[in-house]
């Protein structure tokens, strides 16, 4: 009976777009769905609204990523303060990893996110001077810094925002997919520009 292989010889049915599902309960989720962070596993999971509401308090295995965006117009990051962090690139995000008890810096790049552990003393000094940095919720929020040519040519100082950590990872993914050449190319600049425009609209003063 050759029926076995015949079913593979027919043109395959068009592949249905993969449905995004809540990774806790299997409910279908839409585009703007929430995410949960598992700080021990360092993993991030898609969640429906109901499941996301279950994990808004800290202390459990999962924690829902909040959706607030904050900035601080009054005390921008100076060049000298930035230099003190010794971050070698123009796009970076910082978050508190509660499992390690440290601040971790992530640099999006064509190879994915490069991570390095930061000089905590320098971070603490900076956080003392900047309420925005002090407001960071461990594991689920990050400080995004975009500075210098060619990523933020319109601005004298760096763009600094407190953002949901899932936004950092989606940015990192988009940059990785679209990176061309030495500095990322026009697509990468466009992606960053769109993100910064969106953040500017959503941001509230800390």
């Amino acid at each position: 009976m050759t029926a076995g292989l015949r079913r593979f010889a027919a043109p395959p049915p068009p592949r249905a777009a993969p449905e995004e599902k809540c990774e806790l309960c299997g409910e279908q989720v839409g585009d703007g769905h929430a995410h949960l962070v598992d700080p021990q596993q360092r993993s991030i999971a898609c969640a429906c609204r109901a499941c996301a509401l279950l994990f808004t308090r800290p202390g459990g295995r999962y924690q829902t990523v909040p959706d607030r965006v904050r900035h601080d117009r009054e005390t921008p990051l100076t060049e000298a303060e930035w230099a003190e962090l010794a971050v070698p690139v123009g796009i970076a995000f910082f978050f508190i990893n509660s499992a390690l008890g440290r601040v971790v810096a992530g640099y999006p790049s064509p190879a994915g996110v490069t991570e390095c552990e930061l000089d905590l003393a320098a971070w603490d000094r900076l956080a003392a001077a900047h309420p925005l940095l002090g407001a960071l919720t461990p594991d689920v929020e990050a400080i995004l810094v975009v500075r210098g040519q060619p990523y933020a040519p319109d601005s004298q100082s760096a763009h600094v925002y407190l953002i949901p950590i899932d936004t950092c990872y989606s940015l990192a993914g988009a940059l990785r997919l679209n990176w061309h050449g030495f500095d990322g190319g026009t697509e990468v600049r466009q992606i960053l520009n769109d993100l910064l425009t969106d953040l500017r609209k959503r941001a509230r003063q800390i």
Partner: protein, 159 residues
């Protein structure tokens, strides 16, 4: 798998897919299905080109379908040079049970009338047909003609 043929390969592929589905879930199995489809279709397209290149060289084509493996692969891809009726007739002829090919109806069911023979021939005939013409959808066996009643003169003296 030393003796490769389309039937054994098909069965093994199904078993492996079932194993993958049980172990790694439907998503992984769906990807694997697509992968198998991709490869089978690639080789199918190659076979189609070969058949087209051979074209009317009937001697060459006869050599090809004389090889059971090649023939089974041509059947997988609907590339067999003989049409359905010819293949069914040929298969029934090889069986030698005297089954008669009546035709293929519009739904793809093969109609056959069995001649005489023991009960097991039903299954044997069905298998022979699905192997020779996998594109058909089923086999319908028409009832054989009732055996004629022999009428004889009653022996003299009997009641």
């Amino acid at each position: 798998m030393t003796d490769l043929d389309a039937r054994a390969a098909g069965e093994q592929v199904e078993a492996l897919l079932a194993e993958l589905r049980a172990r790694s879930g439907p998503q992984a199995a769906d990807v694997a299905e697509e992968l198998v489809t991709c490869l089978v279709r690639l080789y199918g397209a190659g076979l189609a080109s070969i058949v087209r290149i051979i074209g009317d060289e009937s001697r060459l084509m006869a050599l090809l379908i004389a090889d059971p493996l090649v023939e089974s692969l041509l059947l997988v891809h609907d590339l067999h040079p003989l049409d359905t009726a010819s293949r069914v007739k040929r298969a029934l002829g090889r069986l030698g049970t005297g089954a008669e090919f009546l035709g293929v109806d519009e739904t793809g069911v093969v109609r056959v009338r069995l001649a005489s023979g023991c009960g097991s021939t039903t299954a044997v005939v069905e298998q022979a047909i699905t192997e020779a013409a996998p594109e058909t959808t089923g086999v319908r066996l028409d009832p054989r003609d009732p055996p004629m009643l022999q009428i004889t003169r009653r022996p003299a003296g009997a009641l």
